[in-house]
């Protein structure tokens, strides 16, 4: 944990800084590889690598809880289901299907729509402050207690309503998935 302690003082200095840069580049590389790969299973594997690297960055920044959850939920849960679906898909059929290339133009149009707000948020006061105040995500009411606790305080007290709303959304999505899946299952019989 020595490296992580050093990272506390400043975001992009020292060993931790170099590690961060390395991880970030790797994340970018794997993310590009996800889109680039012809084989859907390889794409999924690169996405998995990307998730794991993101988790590494989280842990590097002493957000262990988020890092662990990132692995547990995305790598251990969601990606497994992705792979499950991809493997069920007939490889020959998948190879013959046009792999979504016709969406190029739309993607290009949509890119600024998402990129500009994202950059704007990154540029706001709150986030530039982090480099100077590394405890911002570890403190509750001015007291530094650790990332896990801080996250739980935020989630279950400060933002309880949005949290619950999000979970209701997920529930709806889940029920929808069950209904859709059920219908296609009956078609088999």
């Amino acid at each position: 944990m020595g490296a992580a302690e050093a990272a506390g003082s400043a975001l992009l200095t020292g060993v931790a800084g170099w590690l961060f840069v390395g991880f970030a580049l790797l994340i970018l590389g794997t993310a590009i590889a996800v889109v680039w790969s012809k084989n859907p299973v390889h794409s999924a594997l690169f996405l998995l690598a990307s998730f794991l690297l993101v988790a590494c960055v989280f842990i590097l920044e002493e957000a262990e809880f988020v890092g662990a959850v990132q692995i547990l939920v995305y790598a251990g849960g969601i990606m497994v289901l992705f792979l499950f679906v991809i493997m069920l898909v007939h490889q020959r059929t998948a190879a013959g299907t046009p792999a979504f290339q016709h969406q190029w133009d739309i993607a290009l149009l949509l890119l600024p729509v998402f990129l500009i707000p994202f950059l704007y948020i990154l540029g706001t006061e709150k986030f530039t402050d982090i480099a100077r105040n590394p405890d911002a995500f570890r403190a509750v009411a001015g007291r530094v207690i650790g990332n896990t606790e801080a996250v739980s305080w935020l989630m279950f007290r400060d933002y309880l309503l949005p949290f619950e709303v999000a979970s209701v959304f997920l529930l709806v999505a889940m029920i929808g998935a069950v209904v859709l899946g059920k219908r296609s299952f009956e078609k088999v019989d």
Partner: protein
Amino acid sequence: MTDEKLSQAERDEAAYFAERAAAAGVGRPLSQGDTPPAPGEPPTLFDVQEMELNFGPQHPSTHGVLRIVLKVDGEKILEAIPDVGFLHRGTEKLFETETYPMGIPHTDRMDYVAAATNNHAFCLTIEKLLDVEVPRRAQLVRVILDELQRLSSHLVWLGTSGIDLGAVTPFWYAFREREQILDFFEEYCGARLTLNCMRIGGLPFDLTTGWVERLLEFVDDLPARIDDYEQLLTDNRIWKRRTVGIGVLTAAECVEYGLTGPLIRASGIEWDLRRAQPYECYDELDFAVPTRQNGDTYDRYIVRVQEMRQSVRILRQCLDRLEPGEIRGKVPRVIKPPAEEIYASIESPKGELGFYCVSNGSNRPYRMHCRPPSFINLQALPKMAKGHLISDLVALIGTIDIVLGEVDR
């Protein structure tokens, strides 16, 4: 005669049976390959994918070289087409080229886990053709050998079908007892599996000294051992979930498919050749024919286990009645039966095992045909497997209790 010449009623009936046969998975060509997608509609990524899976011929749970072509959706079996014949050795052809007594060792190789019953059925057929009376002692010893063989065959079935469902331990227990039974065979006739232990008109040898006493000891021990197997399986919840309601056959279906043995008895028909058409001295023995009503894999299991207990009972009675005496009937040195035809059958551990013999008056059978229970029983597999999962197919192969040597002959 083509279908056009049939009357309306016959055509209706033919359509009915064709539909039934199709429902049972009979009659689709084997090498159809992947089902082509409907014309004009390109396959999408999320279409239901039908996969063709070769189950066997080399597979841990096909109990020999049986190939089953499966059409599966995920793990659900849409269609199962058995493909047999990998062990075909032309036994029926061999019978024709050798004298009557020389045919007996060939029968050993058919149902190789129950050789004694094969010998018995073969000898019984020729004896019937010759009209030979088998001496009483020979009859009793034959019944003893039959029942021992039934026990050992059921033990093999119990062990292997347990392993098929992941229960490894009963296998070792069952094979411990089977080894002892094989020891008895070995002591009697020198062989453990391919026994060749009966002759036309009687037996080749008399029992060795002490054999009966040792067998009595073993038989006294056996019910407790059977309790052991039941302890592991009968009330086991997982075992029940894996077997109850799997591969249900109604009594009518059993008759329609010609199923015999424990399969038909588990569906509620109390039919056992030992009782229905007694041979040797079965008519004077006191035993029950266990039946169950549901006709699923669990009931077939129960029926077989109860049959083992009945076999113990029969063994005790036979051993009790055994008295010194002749072991061979009056059989001519050269066996030349009249130029006639005969069919005789016995209740083998798997079902009705029959031989159809056509003689032309010479010392060799002109035609010797075997009615193998495994072969006929296996026909019901497509019907039983349809709609079940791959895991159940394994249970179903186990529950039919096939021996590929007998299926393919």
